[in-house]
Every structure is written in C-alpha cells, then in structure tokens.
C-alpha cells in the first residue's frame, strides 16, 4: 500500500478538506475553479477534455484509475484541467486496453492529484455553495487559502482562445466539407464529424471571410471552456455566417449560437458535469441519457430567434435550440459521448440531413 504525504484542498470560502498528495507535484499549489463530475467511467476522457481548462475536477466515483489509461481514449493532446481530487486512487490498473496506470499518466501529464478525500462532503459543499475557486497541495492550509483566494475562476474568461488550435488543420472524412471552429474540440467529436465530412479545423479567432474562403458545406461550433460572454469575435463570425451555411453547435458552440440568435447566457451554480442527465427531445418526447459538462447555460427567458428543442428533465435547463429557417441548431450536452452514453448520436444524423440540403434537421 502506498503511503502518501498528507495534503489539503482549501476552497476560497475557507472550507478545508484533508487528503493525500499524489500524481505530479508542483512547487506551487494546484489552483482552479473546483467542479464535480458524477461520471462513473471515463476519467481519462474527462482529464483530457479541453473544456476543463482552468478547473480542478472532483470525481465523485469511489475508485479512480482501475482500468488505467490508453492513448486512444485521449480527448485532446494533453491534460487541460489544473488538477484532480478523488477518492481512492488505484496503484495498478487492470484492463487489456491499458498502457499506463493513472498515477504514471498523472506524472507524465503533469497532473497534480489529491486522493483519499471525502469527495462526497466536497460535492455537497459545492452543491450548496456553487463552484468555487480552490487550491490543493502539501502546503500549509493558510498558504492554500491564500492561493485559493487569488484564483480568478472562469467568469468573463476567454479560455477558448487558450485551448484552441493555433493553426488550421484538416482531417479526412465523409463526402461533405465541414469547418470546425475549435474552441477546445474533443477528439471523439471530430471522429463523429469525420463520418460526415472532410474536416477543416480552424482556430477560434478565424473570421467569417476566412471560413467562406474554405467553401464549406457546413459549420460546426465545438465545445470549449470558459464564459461564452467573453467570446465576442466568434459571435460576430457565426452571426455573419448564420443562414448562409448549416450550423451545428455543441456545448460552448451551443451557447455561442444561442447568443447569435439573441439569447443570453448565465452561469449555473455548480454546472452539469456527468454522464447521467436526462434530456427530453421536445419534438419527439423521447428521453435521452446524456453526457454533460458545462457551467454556463442559455437563459430560458431571452430566447431571441432560437426555438428551444431540448430540455434537462432534472432542472429544466435549456439543452438544445434550433433556428429551422436558418438551418442552425445546437445542444448543450455532448452527443458525441466520450465519455458517456451514445443515446444522442442521432444529432449528427440531423446535421447530415442539413448538409444534404434538407430544409430542416
């Protein structure tokens, strides 16, 4: 049994949680906005999801690292979250797919870990008080508290530009040409889109003109971290292309499309992060179990030209919008999964229908 050094997580409101320091050890405490994720599988996908940039991810599931890690499960080229807090960390993995255990993965990817934490108490705290800045490490509690207080969080932060590709690149695929505006796109998302078309993945700052010059059949707005309100340039870009091209947005892409359509966005108290959220497709009444990861959401009271198409059954949050005449639609959750259920993959077919020239999805 590995005996690890004691450490603490301290939140900006002063709450202290005891744990054991594992993974990559920095001189400075790990800091970030602390959010919890209730997925029971898919930790590697979550840790490599660019949407977690700037955040510390708390896993509610009891054991982490059981099945190790595998390069094919990476959702991007690196770990984007600032650290992870968990219950029990498996020293050794067991799965034929695994090439590296989670502790080794964390060392290689420079991921700080605080293990053996009462993550349930932490989750309940975040549920009550909302996502909070926090800091963890072996440092004294006062040092951690100071670090937590200095942490700025994600409000009004344009983190998408940080994680977005710096240069455009192309991926071979199906018959259509699709431009992917990358705000932090996940690999699984790209894989799903490749079934539909040849992808040209472009930086978040790409202008409408530049996109037009690529003569695409459709535009895809990816997921990404941070506050959608901080992304003014992409909103202009999308606004300019709206109606011209079929548009499909996911997560941050959904928030941007909604803003373009006249809706406003707001920050949820602790967001939706997990793989078990029920969402109803209002057009069919069918319920899908969805993978979710967002802190911001589209405000129901100000929909502008957007029509609500999907809702979260737990709390009524807008989960999907469409502007049929403009051939644009988007969802807040992650139909591509990776990790999470495959229930919503039909949405890629809807996009395919739009690309095919059908009038509505």
């Amino acid at each position: 049994m590995t005996i690890r050094e004691l450490g603490h997580l301290v939140l900006a409101d002063g709450a202290v949680f005891e744990g054991e320091v594992a993974g990559f050890l920095r001189d400075e405490p790990a800091t970030g906005e602390v959010v919890f994720n209730t997925s029971m599988t898919g930790y590697q996908e979550i840790l490599t999801d660019p949407s977690y940039a700037g955040q510390i991810v708390v896993f509610t599931t009891a054991h982490l690292g059981n099945y190790g890690t595998s390069p094919v499960d990476d959702e991007s080229s690196k770990v984007w979250c600032r650290g992870t807090v968990l219950g029990d960390l498996a020293d050794r993995p067991s799965n034929f797919r695994s090439t590296r255990g989670l502790p080794q993965f964390a060392m290689d990817e420079q991921l700080p870990i605080l293990a053996s934490v009462d993550t349930r108490r932490l989750t309940r705290h975040l549920r009550e008080h909302g996502a909070l800045p926090g800091a963890f490490g072996p440092q004294p509690i006062e040092v951690l508290l100071e670090a937590a207080k200095r942490e700025v969080g994600t409000d009004n932060m344009d983190l998408a530009s940080v994680v977005s590709t710096k240069t455009a690149y192309e991926l071979d695929g199906g018959p259509f040409r699709i431009v992917v505006l990358d705000f932090g796109v996940k690999t699984t998302m790209l894989r799903q889109l490749q079934d539909l078309g040849h992808l040209i993945v472009v930086p978040a700052s790409t202008s409408a003109e530049e996109i037009r010059s690529l003569s695409p059949d459709g535009l895809f707005l990816s997921n990404g971290p941070g506050d959608p309100a901080a992304l003014t340039t992409p909103v202009d870009t999308v606004g300019s292309l709206l109606g011209e091209l079929p548009i499909f947005g996911i997560c941050l892409g959904h928030q941007l499309l909604s803003r373009v359509l006249g809706a406003t966005t707001y920050k949820l108290p602790f967001g939706h992060h997990g793989g078990n959220h029920p969402v109803v497709d209002l057009s069919t009444g069918h319920v899908e179990i969805t993978s979710q990861n967002h802190n911001y959401a589209v405000d129901d009271g100000s929909m502008g030209r957007a029509l609500v198409t999907h809702r979260n059954l737990n709390d009524g949050v807008v989960e999907g919008v469409a502007a049929e005449a403009l051939r644009a639609f988007s969802v807040q959750y992650h139909p591509e999964a990776g990790p999470g259920p495959h229930d919503a993959r039909y949405l890629f077919d809807r996009f395919s229908n739009l690309l095919n020239g059908a009038n509505h999805a």
């Binding site: 029971m40 509610t60 099945y67 094919v72 029990d88 108490r121 997990g274 029920p278 069918h286 495959h342």
Partner: protein, 1115 residues
C-alpha cells in the same frame, strides 16, 4: 402518457415459497408492486402460497389468495375475481413460468385477461435459449458457441463438435438447476441426462464453456416510449463458471473503461428491444474475455430478478416499484425519483461508493453435499455491504455473514489457513468454494504474486490488488506490533491518520485487536479519543448532485456525517441478517411489522440490517435505514449516531432485539441492558440456560423430558444412562436445530459427541460448531430423553408489561416430535388434541411467560405423549411461526408484540382495534408445510430429522384439515395423487401404525407396492399388496424400488426408516423419488394426513378463498 384507465383490476402472482434461487427478494419486489398499483387506484388481486411474506399481508392487496401456485388454482381465482390484467414480472421465474402455462392452456384468453409488463412472445424469446440465441445473432451480438439437445445422443454429438470443456444448461429453469460443466464424455453423459430431466421441456443447451472470463450484469429498464436506462452495472468477483447467485458481486462495475461500458450498455438496450420487453426491468448478463475484451451475451431475464433487488438496494432506485408503474402505462420521465423527490426516474443512478454482495451457503446443514461452487446455485441467502472503497465494503460484507469472521482474516478463525501447507493452500485457492476468499488473502499474504493468483483463480487482478492492500496493511501492523512494547503503544504511533487509514480499509475493531493483541474495547476507546469516528453517508442515486430526502445510510470513515438531527423519540430495530436455513424471511416479516406498528404509533423507527433481499431493507419501510453489518461495533456506531441525532430534546427509546431471530439476540448481551426493549436479556438467558430452565419448570410443576448437560462424551453417556435411550443431542444457543441429532444407543451418542467436539476424523477443528461458538461450560451440549411418537405442539403467545397474556396460536405438528419444527407441517387449529390437553398447554405457556417476565412474544414447544404434556423448550422472542399464525388467525401478532415491547398494554391495543376483544378459533384450517432444498443437493438424504433443512414454507387453507393439507402439498410442489400405486416401505417399529395407513390408501382405491418384509406383514393382516418390490441386491427376485420409481410405476412413496432401519436402501429410494418428482412422505403421520387429504379432495372440487374473506380485513 398517463396511466391506463381501461384497466380496473390487476392480478399479481408472487413467487411462492423461499427456495434456493428464489428468495425473499420477490417479497420485496412484489410488495412494492402491489402497493404502487393500489396507490394508482387499481384493485389488486394477489396469489402467493407463502404466508411468511409482507406481500400476503391482507393490507398489501385488495384480495389475497394464499393458495397453491398452479394453473388450476389461478384459473379459479380468475373466475372469482375477474381481473382485467395479469402482471407476471414481479414473482420471479415461478410467476413467469406459470403465466406461460396459463397462456398455453388458453386460460387467459378464455377469461379475457391481458398480460402486462412483459408479453408472452418476449418471455418466450428470452427464456427459450434457442430463440434467444437466434434473436441475439440477428442483431449482431455474440453468444457462446452452442447447440440444443433434446436427447442424450444428440447432446453427445454436439459435445464432440464443440469440444470440452462444455457447459450444460437446461431450458426453462431457475437459478441454474441442472446446470454443470463437463470436462469429458463421462461427466457429459451424466450432466446431460440430469439437465434433460430438470428441464420441463426436456431440452438442454450444450455450450462452449467460457469459464474464467469476466462476468458482468446490467440492470436495465425500458418504458413503452422506448426510453431505456441502466440502473446499475454489476461486476462479478468470481469469474464465469460460478453461478452469479453464488458469486461475490460488486457494484458498480470496476474494471471496464468507458468505451467498453458504453458498448455493453448499447448491447443491453439492443437486447431488450429485440427480445421485445416493452416495459419494465430486465437484466442482461455478459461475459468478457479479459485478454481481448471480446464480449458475449450470456442471458437476459425479462423480469425483476434477484439482481434487480440487489441493484435497487445498491443504488436507491426502486426497480420493482417503477416496473409496476411502467406496466400500467407510465413513462420513466413521468415518475419521480423516490430519493430526491425532485428529479425524474428517467436517469441513470450515479453511485459514489462500492457495494459488495456475498452469498451465504448452508453446506454445514447438508451432509453429503460437496461444498464446491459451480454453475448450479446453492446459496440460501446473501449479505450486502456498502463502503467508500472496495476493501472497506468487502470486509464489512464478510463480517455481515455472521459466520464467526470479523473481516478478511486477521481474526482467530484464520488459524485453519495458517496451518495449511503451501500445496493445500494452493488447492484451497484454486477451487471455487464458500471460504475461498479467505484462502486467497492467505495466499497473497504468504507471498504469492497477484499474477500467480490470477492463474490460480481467474479473479481479476484489480480485485486481488485491492485484497493485497488489506494484506499489506495487516502485515505492516503486525510488524509494527512486533517492534513495539504493546498494542496500546502501536495505537499511539498510528495516531489519527494511521488508524483512519486502517478503518478505511474496513478493518473492524476486533481485527485490529487481534493484530495488536488488545481488547477490541481498547481499540474502540482509543479510536474515539483520537477522533477516528464513523461517518454516515447517504445512498441517494445521484452522488450528492441533488439533495436526498430519503435517509438511507451506511458508515465509512470520512469527514462529514449526514444523519439529520430530529427530536422525535426513536426505536432501533435490529434485523435478522442474511437468510439461512433456520433464520429466514419469517424474522424479517416480524421486523417489518414492528416498524409499521411503531411508525403508526408515532415513533421514529430506525432499521439496521445487511440483507439486500428483504422488505426491511427497503428504505420505505422505516424512517431511517442503516445498511450495516449486525455486529457489536457496527450496531453501537449506529446507536451512538442516533443518540447524537436525537439531541437533548429527543431520545433513543430503545432497541428491539427479539424479532430478528438469533442474530440480534446474540448482540443483546453486549448492549446496554437499559436499551433493550421487551423481555430482558436476563430472561432470554434464563430460558436458554439449562439449569435455570429446569429450575423454572420444576418450580412451575411443568414436566419436561428428563435430561442433562455435557461438555465431554463421558458426561453425555452418563446423562443418557440416567434418562434412557433414545436421546436428543443438541447444542445450546443455536437456531434451526443446528447439529441436532437423535441417537438410539451409546455408540451413536459417542459419534454425535465427537462430531460436536471436533474429535471426529475429518471434522473441522473445534467441531461442527466451530462457527457457532463451539462447546464449553457456558455452551454445553444438551442431552434429553427423546419421546418417541409424541405429538409436537408449538405455541405463540404475547405478554404485556402489565402481566396480561394472550395465546396467539396453538399449532399441532403433523410430523411427530423429533422432526425439527421448522421442517414439520403443522396445523392451526389443532386436530387431535383434547380440550384438557389444550387447557394444560395454555396454562403452561401462561405460567412460563409470567415466570420469565416476558414482554412481547414467547414461543413454547411441547410434546404430547399418551395425553401427558411435556415442555421441550421456550423462547422469549419471535418464532418462525409468527407470520403463519398471523395469517391463520387474521391478527397481526408481530405488530402487537412490537407495541407491547414499547410499553403499550394489550388492553390499549384492544381499544385501538389492533387486537380483537374476543379471539375466536378460526373456522377454517390452515396448514403450513416446509419446502426443502434437496433438488439442489443430489447427494443429500431427504429424510427429515431434528436438524432443520427447509428453506421456506407454504400455507394451505380450507374448510377442513384434509383439504388444507392437500393444498399445502400442492403448494409445496408435491401434489398428492388421487389414484395409482403407493410404494410402502416402513421400519419394523412403524409397522403397526403403517397397517392403519395402508388400509386408508387401499380404501381410497390405491394399489400398494411393498418390499417383501413389509408386504408379508401387510398380507398377513389382510391387506392386498399388488406389487412386490426387491431390495437393492435382491433384484433377481423382483423389480427394485428405484427402477419402479424411475419407470413411473409409483405415484406416492411412503418411506419411514428411523434409527437403524433400512437406511442404505432408504436413501436411494428417496433420491429416486426426488429425481422423478414423486411425492415422498417420510413419516406415517404425514402419510395419514395425506390419506385424509386425498379422501377429502375426492368429493369436493377445488375452492379458493381470499384471506380477506376468511379473516376480515384486519392484520
């Protein structure tokens, strides 16, 4: 979609008696379903033959038929009640098979009854292996290479084609009966024949064995709008090859990556859609090759199952309740999550803890059965434990089993393993057996690598690695102790952090005390002083994402405790732990009734139990549920938490220990006596302590069979010399006649004592009672004169604190004294006892209750011989017969007892209407019959004796004893014939009585078959014997009994060897009867009852009656 308004009344079929593979989980699911359907405004008609269920409480359904579960009976119920629909998915395989039979016979169509919850086509697709295989292949899912055989020859041809090892599975069976793995032609031939015989359609699946693959189960629900959710994933600790009911299982699945898990989820939904389960819960089992991830579908159950009960308890998602709502038209998103009360049921629970289930076996009660696990389920119960790590939940589950273990070794009982050689240990590790897990830990501790252990066991390395953490921690602790001056000093060195690490791995105080050489009390005190205290977390379906309204708790060692303060006075009820032979659903029934009664009376009721199959562990049953082991440490933790939560304004009124069988009683002595409600621990002890008890009987002038106590064989022989043979030999403080025996001479007595003391060759160290506390001056062996041919009588009574006593029921056993009361059929009212005998029995029971200062229930057993009444034993606690008496009398005795235990007088209960002013003897006759597990254990003799072996019970109700007995036999699955041949083989000393019984059968028109000896005796007394039967070894003279039974020439076997009778022959005859499903009666008393029943049934058609019509709506 709202609920269906075209339906007004729904028939629900229960699962009948508790048998291996189908236990009280179906009482839990059935009860939930009935309640939900009534809440929705439907009239609910229930059929279930098991009286010990909450489901058959007259308040659970509108019309409750405690009647045999046969097509004929169900049709009679349908004709009487005219239900619109039948819900077959909540009564296990019994209800599903019966429904298919009703469909095939056209009964449902004839009476216009719609099957809801699962359509017959879907049931057939899932249940018929050939159809299922084709269906799966059609949707691109892999199934094991296999083919069906309908004859032995066909099976052998297929086996040649597939190659060994091969698994044989009979079609349409439950719990894997008749299933086995063959490694060669010889085993193949034997297992194939057994399988063909076991299958009601004479069909077996001959399949490539994938023993050693990982096994998973997904619990899935679907609604009519095609919304599908996975409620829970379960991973088996034991690899494929051990029946899932006999496997240690863990939730959620631990070793699947998201990619694999999501693919499995897709497959499960595809399976449900293809099979055509339109609404409800199903489970889908998968095998996964650990080397490649290749995934096969093994089977699916289109109904609520044992696993769904486990999944419900493991997640807080009530599958049965929701399945019932889906069956009447609701959609998942129209149903609210019970726990959050805010979010819908159309979601997938996320759990932030680890659940471990461990089965409990009863091999010690079944001599002749090999304690080896395979594809045929053999366990009789299970425990579940919840922890924040797998090691914690595993150790909690192991101590929940109540088999003298305090966790994963690190306790005195590990000595047996320490004495094993490396070869012996390897052997113990590689064979799947009930205790293997302890050997696996010992193997890791002795230095076998995880890789080596994977080779030996096929267990996934992740689980082994987690077990190794426990090993490493204990070795480190022992080493630290060796370096230190004392255990106390080590505790000081460990400090808060070190001690908490150990508690988080699930170590109990007893284990830590064992490793450190300290008293567990020292560990506890130090722990508390250091602030290493348990914290109670909540099972909430959502990993704390939403507030939980339902307090369903488990303990762990973390930072935050979630028990909410409340000032209401609270009562804690200790449940009965895992089901085992001798302590089963009857005690859970009593605990549930206590909870209902005390809640109604304004108490806040707290339940502690660790059995996931039960109604008591439904979070709806009590105000708060603690899913915890029933040990001193764990129970004390809850009591302290409750005391704290009660605060200064509230109070912990006390603890009820007298309703859950031996489990809570064993704890009673260790708890603060002022907290024990009802009869004091001292009184309980007085009834159990031999000398004390004899003194009471003497003082009250109540006769008891002469006897004495012994801790050595010499003492035993001396007692027997004094009282005379035969004697009944039994240990103290055990339930269910554990290790009880009747011996007829000194040699027999010496053998019996050797077995008990462990000096017998081949018996475990410490004797067969090693796990029950062994034999000592405090726990001597009781030796009593055995009264032959006496009638046994059971009495249940209640006494209140003011001293008033009421007799709840007097039951007369059908089998004579000597057959364990739990295995004996009994009747209420009594049939042969005179008024003065009954009056003596009543006054004796009352005198004993008074003398023992009973507050609550008292059970007294009497033997009546030649008009003399002897008391055998008294137990001041709930007995196994309480639910039967409640059903037979229409009075809720367990509720009354619970109220009395908190101080309410019987007079007050009369005023409240819980107890009738006048208790009249019922006008109908109720007969309870025991149901035996012998068909699972082919090598075990079916002869009844003083050691209890039945797993469950049924009840037959009718206007007279004969008809009620007939129904009880029908319900127990051995319907008596109305004509044909009766094979008679009785021991010499039974011959006189046998004559009378033989006459009865001849008068009823039966032919007799008998062995030469018996036939000669019958003929010389003027009774015609149509067929002579040879004994084994005399085959040249006539057909032997076994061939005759095998050829279908016998419709009823009466075989009564006892003592030194024709034992060798007897066991073969009884086994043949068992294999051929020919009813076999082993006592003349039962044979006489059967003749009465057959006679009564001859001139009366089958009539069904609801409990409500018999007793009125009370109870």
């Amino acid at each position: 979609m709202p609920k269906r308004n075209d339906l007004k009344s729904i028939l629900v079929i229960g699962s009948g008696p508790i048998v291996i593979g189908q236990a009280c989980e179906f009482d839990y699911s059935g009860t939930q379903a009935c309640r939900v359907l009534r809440e929705e405004g439907y009239r609910v008609i229930l059929a279930n033959s098991n009286p010990a269920t909450i489901m058959t409480d007259p308040g659970t359904a509108d019309a409750t038929y405690v009647e045999p579960l046969t097509a004929e009976v169900i049709e009679a119920i349908i004709i009487k009640e005219r239900p619109d629909a039948l819900l077959p998915t909540l009564g296990g395989q019994t209800a599903l098979n019966l429904t298919m039979e009703l469909v095939e016979l056209g009964i449902l169509e004839r009476h216009g009854v719609e099957v809801i919850g699962a359509n017959p086509v879907a049931i057939a697709t899932a249940e018929d292996r050939e159809q299922f295989k084709h269906a799966m292949e059609e949707i691109g899912l892999e199934v094991p290479i296999s083919d069906f055989a309908h004859s032995l020859d066909e099976a052998m041809v297929i086996a040649k084609r597939i190659g060994y090892p091969i698994i044989i599975r009979p079609s349409y069976i439950l719990g894997g009966a008749g299933t086995g793995i063959a490694h060669d032609d010889v085993a193949m031939a034997r297992l194939a024949q057994e399988g063909l015989d076991a299958s009601p359609i004479t069909e077996i699946l001959v399949e490539q064995s994938i023993a050693g693959w990982k096994e998973f189960e997904l619990e899935v629900m679907r609604d009519q709008a095609d919304n599908c959710v996975v409620v829970c994933s379960i991973e088996n600790f034991d690899p494929m090859g051990v029946h899932t009911g006999d496997s240690i299982t863990v939730a959620p699945a631990q070793t699947l990556s998201d990619v694999e898990y999501q693919e499995m989820r897709d497959d499960a939904f595809a399976c449900l859609r293809r099979v055509g389960v339109e609404t409800g819960g199903s489970n889908v089992q998968f095998a996964v090759d650990p080397k490649t991830g290749r995934r096969l579908v093994i089977e699916m159950n289109p109904r609520v199952s044992r696993s769904s009960a486990l999944a419900s308890k493991a997640t807080g998602f009530p599958i049965a309740k929701i399945a019932a709502r889906l069956a009447v038209g609701y959609r998942l998103d129209e149903i609210t999550n019970d726990i959050t009360k805010a979010t819908p049921a159309s979601f997938e629970p996320s759990i932030d803890y680890v659940v471990t289930k461990i089965p409990r076996w009863a091999f010690e009660k079944l001599p002749g059965a090999e304690a080896r696990l395979g594809t045929r389920m053999q366990s009789v119960g299970e425990v579940m434990a919840i922890g924040r790590t797998f090691p914690e939940s595993l150790q909690k589950a192991l101590r929940s089993l109540e088999q003298g273990r305090h966790g994963l070794n690190a306790d005195p009982a590990e000595g047996d393993l320490d004495r094993m050689s490396e070869e012996e240990l390897d052997q113990a590790i590689s064979i799947a057996a009930p205790d293997r897990i302890f050997a696996v830990e010992a193997g890791l501790r002795r230095g076998r690598s995880v890789e080596r252990m994977v080779e030996l066991t096929g267990i996934d390395p992740w689980f082994l690695d987690q077990m190794e953490r426990i090993s490493v921690a204990r070795v480190a602790l022992s080493e630290q102790r060796a370096r230190s001056v004392s255990g106390e000093a080590v505790l000081g060195e460990l400090g808060r952090v070190g001690l908490r690490r150990l508690k988080r791995l699930g170590f109990s105080d007893v284990q830590l005390g064992y490793l450190l050489g300290c008293d567990p009390a020292t560990i506890r005190a130090t722990r508390k002083a250091l602030g290493v205290l348990p914290t109670f977390k909540t099972v909430d379906t959502c990993a704390a994402e939403f507030p939980a309204e339902t307090p369903y708790h488990y303990s762990t060692y973390e930072e935050e405790d979630e028990v909410r303060p409340s000032p209401r006075p609270r009562v804690v009820i200790l449940g009965s732990g895992p089901n085992r032979i001798g302590q089963g659903i009857e005690f859970d029934y009593c605990c549930v009734h206590a909870s209902m009664a005390l809640r109604a009376a304004g108490y806040e009721v707290v339940m502690i139990n660790c059995n996931p199959e039960t109604v008591s562990t439904d979070y709806d049953t009590s105000d708060r549920l603690y899913f915890e082991p029933l040990t001193y440490e764990d129970v004390s933790n809850v009591l302290e938490a409750e005391t704290k939560a009660a605060g200064v304004d509230g109070s912990l009124v006390g603890v009820i220990v007298a309703l859950g069988g031996q489990t809570p009683l064993k704890l009673a002595g260790q708890l603060d006596p002022s907290l024990i409600l009802g009869t004091s621990p001292a009184s309980i002890e007085a009834a159990e302590d031999r000398a004390h008890w004899s003194a009471i009987c003497e003082r009250l002038s109540i006769s008891q069979p002469p006897g004495g106590t012994a801790v050595t064989a010499e003492q035993a022989v001396a007692v027997a010399k004094r009282v005379g043979y035969p004697v009944l030999v039994r240990p103290s403080y055990v339930l269910g006649g554990r290790a009880m025996e009747i011996v007829y001479d000194e040699a027999g007595l010496e053998r019996a004592m050797s077995r008990l003391l462990g000096s017998d060759e081949g018996s475990p160290v410490g004797g067969v009672l090693a796990r029950d506390g062994g034999v000592s001056d405090d726990r001597p062996v009781l030796i009593d004169r055995f009264l032959e041919d006496a009638t046994e009588v059971d009495v249940d009574a209640v006494r209140d604190a003011a001293g008033e006593i009421v007799i709840a029921g007097i039951m007369e056993h059908v089998e004579e004294a000597g057959v364990h009361s739990g295995d004996s059929a009994c009747t209420l009212p009594t049939q042969t006892l005179g008024a003065s005998t009954l009056s003596t029995i009543r006054s004796h029971a009352a005198a004993l209750a008074e003398d023992l200062s009973v507050v609550g229930l008292l059970n007294v057993q009497f033997a009546v011989k030649d008009g003399d009444v002897f008391v055998l034993e008294a137990n001041p606690r709930a007995s196994r017969t309480v639910p039967f008496v409640a059903k037979a009398t229409g009075i809720a005795w367990a509720m009354i007892a619970a109220r009395v235990m908190v101080g309410t007088t019987l007079e007050t209960l009369r005023e409240e209407g819980l107890l009738p002013r006048v208790i009249e003897l019922p006008r109908h006759v109720s007969v309870k019959e025991a149901v035996m597990p012998f068909n699972r254990f082919p090598g075990v003799d079916t002869l009844l004796g003083p050691e209890m072996r039945s797993t469950g019970e049924v009840m037959g109700v009718d206007v007279n004893f004969g008809l009620a007995f007939m129904k009880s036999q029908m319900a127990a699955g051995s319907a008596l014939p109305s004509s044909g041949t009766v094979f008679f083989s009785v021991a010499d000393r039974d011959k006189a009585q046998g004559l009378e019984v033989a006459k009865l059968f001849v008068e009823l028109g039966f032919d007799l078959a008998a062995t030469f000896g018996t036939a000669g005796f019958l003929r010389s007394n003027g009774i015609d014997v149509a067929q002579l039967v040879a004994k084994i070894g005399e085959e040249a003279m006539a057909t032997d009994a076994i061939s005759l039974i095998n050829s279908g020439g016998i419709q009823l076997v009466i075989n009564t060897p006892r003592g030194y009778g024709p034992r060798a022959d007897g066991i073969h005859i009884r086994t043949a009867a068992l294999v051929n499903a020919v009813p076999c009666l082993t006592t003349l008393a039962a044979a006489r009852a059967a003749a009465l029943g057959i006679a009564a049934a001859k001139d009366q058609p089958l009539v069904v009656r609801s409990l409500q019509s018999l007793n009125g709506p009370v109870a």
